[in-house]
């Protein structure tokens, strides 16, 4: 868990869905799964769009930038602070050369608009990223309001 405020409190996490992203059609499937889960947890429409857009950016990153795709786990967090949906995205390389650059608006290595990662950071409540040549791991979380 990334946040200090939850570490000392009652905390339960259940993984609801593990998605493999290798092919493009799996991206839209990932979005649909997340939308279903967010609806069942009672998220409002704006939050759902923000969650699903973040998922879309994560999944496109796996599709465009990794060697063999990757996986995204969707889990629901229940703790004293409330309910949250966590997306954990992992791949096996080649890694991000400069995380600082990748978190800049408008930075892109494939001719895109370059808003993916900084966008996710703004759309979600919590965001952590770690990367080396063996893979990248991104975890982000959005609380239910």
């Amino acid at each position: 868990m990334t946040s200090n405020k939850t570490s000392a409190l009652k905390y339960a996490e259940s993984i609801l869905c593990e998605l493999v992203i290798k092919k493009e059609w799996q991206i839209s499937k990932a979005r649909q799964e997340l939308k279903k889960i967010a609806l069942s947890q009672g998220y409002n429409s704006t939050s759902i769009v923000e969650l699903v857009t973040s998922m879309s950016e994560l999944a496109y990153n796996l599709f465009f930038h990794t060697n063999n795709g990757g996986e995204i786990k969707i889990s629901v967090i229940k703790c004293d602070n409330g309910t949250g949906i966590k997306l954990a995205c992992n791949d096996s390389g080649p890694g991000i050369i400069s995380i600082e650059d990748a978190l800049q608006d408008g930075y892109s290595t494939n001719g895109g608009l370059g808003g993916g990662l900084p966008g996710i950071k703004r759309l979600m409540d919590e965001f952590t990223i770690a990367s080396n040549q063996h893979g990248t791991s991104i975890t982000c979380l959005k609380w239910l309001i």
């Binding site: 979005r31 429409s45 704006t46 769009v49 923000e50 857009t53 950016e57 608009l113 759309l123």
Partner: protein
């Protein structure tokens, strides 16, 4: 594969994107639209996204590219029907789509085209 119908009405091309598109579908749509626009020499092209729930950075890039392409052909590109949640998310993502002319509804976009825009003869 989804094929998006492109309709011709009073010197305007109208298309409605209703689901997310794959790479391949986008390329096909793009080339169909540009070919049709070239053949019919329209005043403008309206893309309606009022049923689209998510516009991610990929879709935003597609719309931005289309704007430039249609403009190069001498027509006006208009986007209509961006949902409230979609517009706030786009700004959070840093994608203002500044050079894309937008309207709340297809009706307004069409009105604008038929009254305000002169055809290039």
């Amino acid at each position: 594969m989804t094929i998006i119908p492109i309709l011709y009405l009073k010197s305007t091309l109208i298309a409605s994107i209703q689901t997310e598109l794959t790479d391949e579908e986008v390329l096909l749509f793009q080339s169909n639209l540009l070919k049709k626009n070239h053949k019919l020499n329209t005043k403008g092209v309206i893309i309606d996204v009022s049923t689209l729930d998510v516009i991610d950075s990929y879709m935003a890039k597609v719309l931005k590219d289309l704007t430039s392409m249609v403009k190069l052909q001498g027509s006006v590109f208009l986007l209509s029907g961006v949902k409230p949640a979609v517009s706030s998310t786009l700004v959070d993502m840093g994608m203002m789509l500044n050079n894309v002319e937008t309207f709340l509804s297809l009706d307004q976009a069409f009105d604008y085209l038929s009254t305000k825009v002169q055809a290039k003869k």
